[in-house]
Amino acid sequence: MTLDELLSQPLARVRDDGFSARVALAALRRRQRRQTLLLCAGLAALLPPLAMLPLAESGDVLAASLAGAPLQPYLSLLAAGLILLWALRPRPFRL
């Protein structure tokens, strides 16, 4: 066998042995970390404007109007349903 023939032999096949899974998992974790950081940064950016809003007064007004509302049980159920949906949301929508 000539040197060129020897050199032209393909590299020995390397068995995967979980390498691909480890890399894919590391990439996924990194992506999730990045998304979490972005979410935290977004929330942090929202905090200063929120501090400027008259939320206490708005809360009092909202509480008073909700207490007198005839649909109050339905609103509570709707809120509970939304919270449950958020908690049990499918995996692709999780951050």
Partner: protein
Amino acid sequence: MTDDTGAVRRAAAGDAAAFAVLVRLHQSALRGFLRRLTRGDHALADDLAQDTFLEAHRKLAQFQGSGSFSGWLHAIAWSRFLMETRKRKLEPLDDDFAETQGAVPEPASVARLDLESAFAHLRPAERAALTLCFAVGMAHEEAAATLGMPLGTLKSHVARGREKLKILLKDHAP
């Protein structure tokens, strides 16, 4: 050579499964290339391969598709290997050092060497150039682009590497 365009596009759009497919398709070639560059240090080669894939994952949107995806991956791997070599001072990279230190041992001292052992006596750029041009089957132009060097320099590395291997394997040849 596989056509990875679809998988690359899906992976760049955030499809984790498509990225996993790309890793599975290219892990063997890339780890083999890095094992040869690291002179058989499997642990280091695998660490570099993982870093290469993660960097590729981060930069997938930058992949233009003008060259092959495999070539792009090998270019990242080569750059990672060079960074690691400089950081750890694994071996000399410059030409002068190898020339003055006598990188090619006497044939008598390297009898019974197989190709992989002989490769360990070459400079990194020679190992990379020979591997890409012969074992991986890249054209000289593509190999030069992958290694980020002028075509003439690549050809010099190939020629010098072949000469050294001829000497190293002389006693081993039938």
